[in-house]
């Protein structure tokens, strides 16, 4: 028995040593994307968009997601990608800072690193592909509230946590927009925080309805908040009295769009976000752009883009205005993500 094992071990050892690594032919450049975690329908669409974009340019795409949405799991994957000598790594970060060491290691080996959707520290990235222009999100949501309220009345915002950076940027732009003269009859009465928890968002919505009986519109720029508010408004039979808009997932919001509680809402198209990322990747690798402000490149079917300054001190590419979902297209999109 012992002998068998020993012999087997020796044979295997010999095999390991004699396989020449040169048997592997040179391959075409590989472009990798790392999403937050597996089993996320939004993420699957983003990966798909990236893959299509890379393949239509004739390269090979590597799509990876860890089984847990943690930075340490992403670090392992990035190490594996470094060992594979990929041309670029596109990271949808699980943590703003914790990936910095491993991403810098990747950069030091000549790999082009940039983030997408959920950004990482500017020190660790060349640029960032952002879903939508924060200012446009603010403008679009206020315009929607204005139209739903019929031009005047009380509105409230249901946000995620009070320290979520993207939420606060959007809310600031909404306030700026409200200061414009055409919105003088809209009154923002309260910003509530549902912490992106379903039950807390529900009770915050109920609180809003009790405290402000004349409330016309709730703007929820978070997928958890908007779905919770949709449920409350539906259950309380407030359709046509209090309107709902914001940023939501079509699959979760289809019910409330179809029943009229939420006439329309917005989100970006995750497929396009990934697709745009694929062109950023190739442009960085073939040297067309370096990720600095003012760099221009073309992104296939999406057209031309310019890199701009990001609020966090780095640079970014903005996909464009948010995408509108209403009764006319929700059936098609609710199965997508």
């Amino acid at each position: 028995m012992k002998k068998t094992f020993t012999v087997a071990a020796l044979v295997l050892l010999a095999l390991t040593l004699i396989i020449p690594s040169s048997v592997f032919a040179a391959e075409k450049p590989k472009f990798a994307i790392v999403f937050k975690n597996t089993g996320n329908p939004y993420g699957e669409k983003q990966l798909e968009g990236f893959r299509v974009g890379i393949e239509e340019q004739g390269f090979e795409a590597i799509l990876r997601s860890p089984d847990l949405p943690t930075a340490e799991a992403q670090i392992q994957i990035i190490e594996q990608l470094i060992a594979q000598k990929v041309a670029s790594i596109c990271i949808v970060g699980n943590d703003y800072d914790a990936l910095t060491p491993v991403l810098r290691k990747a950069s030091s080996q000549g790999i082009k690193v940039f983030s997408l959707d959920s950004s990482v520290n500017p020190q660790a990235r060349l640029t960032h592909v952002n879903q939508a222009d924060s200012e446009k999100i603010g403008q679009t949501l206020i315009k929607a509230a204005y139209d739903m309220a019929g031009g005047k009345g009380e509105i409230a915002i249901l946000s995620a946590t009070s320290q979520a950076s993207n939420q606060n940027i959007w809310i600031d732009f909404m306030k700026k927009e409200l200061a414009k003269p055409e919105y003088k009859d809209l009154k923002l009465v309260k910003i509530a925080y549902g912490d992106d928890l379903r039950d807390k968002s529900v009770s915050e919505t109920e609180g809003l309805l009790r405290s402000y009986p004349n409330l016309k519109v709730i703007i929820a720029p978070t997928t958890v908040g908007i779905a919770a508010a949709g449920k409350v408004l539906t259950d309380k039979g407030l359709k046509g009295k209090v309107f709902l808009t914001g940023l939501g997932l079509p699959s979760e919001m289809a019910e409330y769009i179809n029943n009229g509680v939420c006439p329309y809402m917005f989100l970006w198209n995750p497929i396009d976000v990934g697709y745009l990322g694929s062109y950023v990747a190739t442009a960085l690798v073939n040297g067309k752009i370096t990720g600095k402000v003012g760099d221009k490149f073309s992104a296939g079917r999406l057209g031309n883009y310019t890199i701009t300054k990001a609020p966090d001190g780095g640079t970014e590419v903005l996909l464009g205005p948010p995408f509108k979902f209403d009764k006319s297209n929700i059936e098609e999109w609710k199965t997508v993500y």
Partner: protein, 352 residues
């Protein structure tokens, strides 16, 4: 009981290492397959840097081996890692010098281990699993209360040396881990404390009646587990350069899996630390190799799960075969144990 334990150690023959040899062969097989499948696998850089990917959690495997030999399971170690990491970051950001913050992390984690052990002694009727399940949520809960949804970090640059640094060509973490493994092997296999762990794992009640202070053993092992969780938190935090309350998620499960694959019976009272040491590298390299092939995370999980089930089945099978008549699977040396009839390993394994 104590005497027989000594004898077992002395009379250990090569055949006893069958499981380890099996794991080694598996490890080699993994490497062969990996190098067939990926051109990037067999490079010096890969071999040297790969252990940096998984050694942080490997520190948890050392005490987990002792815990499982005791017949217990500790599911709180991942949460201890998170709590001590968060406290280290917060105290450093509050002005504590980094070396002291690191000491604080170790103190916190050892205290957490002490709490685990203390509760186990005080509430004997509760299983260690239930107790550590509760402390698991408490420890991570405290980490969440402290940092909420934020991350903390901005450590001095030398701190990154822990997880990223090399001494010569060898990763620093590998050196520390080897030292820690040697210390644990010595404790478990040559000291009185180590023999007590086997004895308590075999039959706690009998130990108590023979005057062994089982409480001290359990407390000691729990504190060692806490201390090692502190080591993990140092290396993990260094690797990420910042921390947040959800770090080290499921690390306890990984540690348990590596330990069980290493041949440590969950019935308690048996197994050697060499098995888990090999299985750390086996799972680590397997994971890494599959990752190099860009196998999806779900499939990797399925493969590792299958490996674990197989290992438990094989162990179970060989246990049953060797218990009544020991001749079947093993070479001549086996007669020594069989003759002695001592083998707390084989015969009183159910006692824990």
């Amino acid at each position: 009981m104590e005497k027989t334990a000594i004898d077992t150690n002395k009379l250990r023959g090569l055949h006893q290492y069958q499981w380890e040899i099996f794991l080694l062969v598996l490890f080699l097989a993994v490497n062969v397959v990996n190098s067939f499948l990926s051109p990037y696998y067999l490079t010096l850089d890969t071999f040297v840097s790969t252990p940096m990917n998984f050694l942080d959690k490997a520190f948890l495997v050392l005490p987990m081996t002792m815990i499982i030999i005791l017949g217990n399971i500790d599911v709180s170690v991942g949460s201890i890692v998170a709590l001590s990491s968060v406290l280290m970051a917060v105290s450093y950001n509050a002005g504590l010098p980094m070396p002291l913050a690191m000491v604080l992390a170790l103190l916190v984690s050892t205290t957490c281990g002490f709490i685990n052990g203390f509760l186990q002694i005080k509430f004997k009727e509760l299983s260690a699993t239930i107790i550590t399940l509760s402390t698991m949520t408490v420890f991570r809960g405290i980490a969440y209360v402290i940092l909420e949804d934020r991350s903390a970090g901005k450590f001095p640059s030398w701190f990154s040396f822990l997880a990223w640094g090399y001494i010569g060509k060898i990763p620093f973490i590998l050196i520390v881990f080897v030292l820690a493994a040697i210390v644990f092997a010595v404790i478990l296999h040559t000291t009185r404390f180590g023999r007590m762990i086997y004895a308590v794992g075999s039959n706690r009640t009998a130990c108590e009646y023979s005057g062994i202070r089982t409480g001290r053993i359990i407390l000691g092992v729990s504190m060692l587990a806490g201390l090692m969780a502190g080591f993990t938190s140092l290396f993990l935090t260094s690797r990420m350069g910042s921390t947040r309350p959800n770090v080290a998620l499921n690390y306890e499960l990984d540690a348990i899996a590596m330990t069980v694959l290493g041949g440590i019976s969950t019935n308690g009272g048996k197994g050697r630390i060499t098995g888990p040491l090999i299985s750390i590298f086996l799972i680590g390299f397997l994971n890494y190799g599959l990752g190099l092939r860009n196998v999806s995370a779900q499939v990797i999980l399925i493969i590792l799960g299958t490996l674990l089930i197989l290992s438990v089945l094989v162990q179970n099978f060989t246990d049953r075969q060797s218990a009544p008549s020991s001749k079947k699977i093993s070479a001549p040396t086996h007669r020594s144990d069989a003759g002695d009839g001592l083998d707390i390993h084989e015969h009183s394994a159910q006692g824990g």
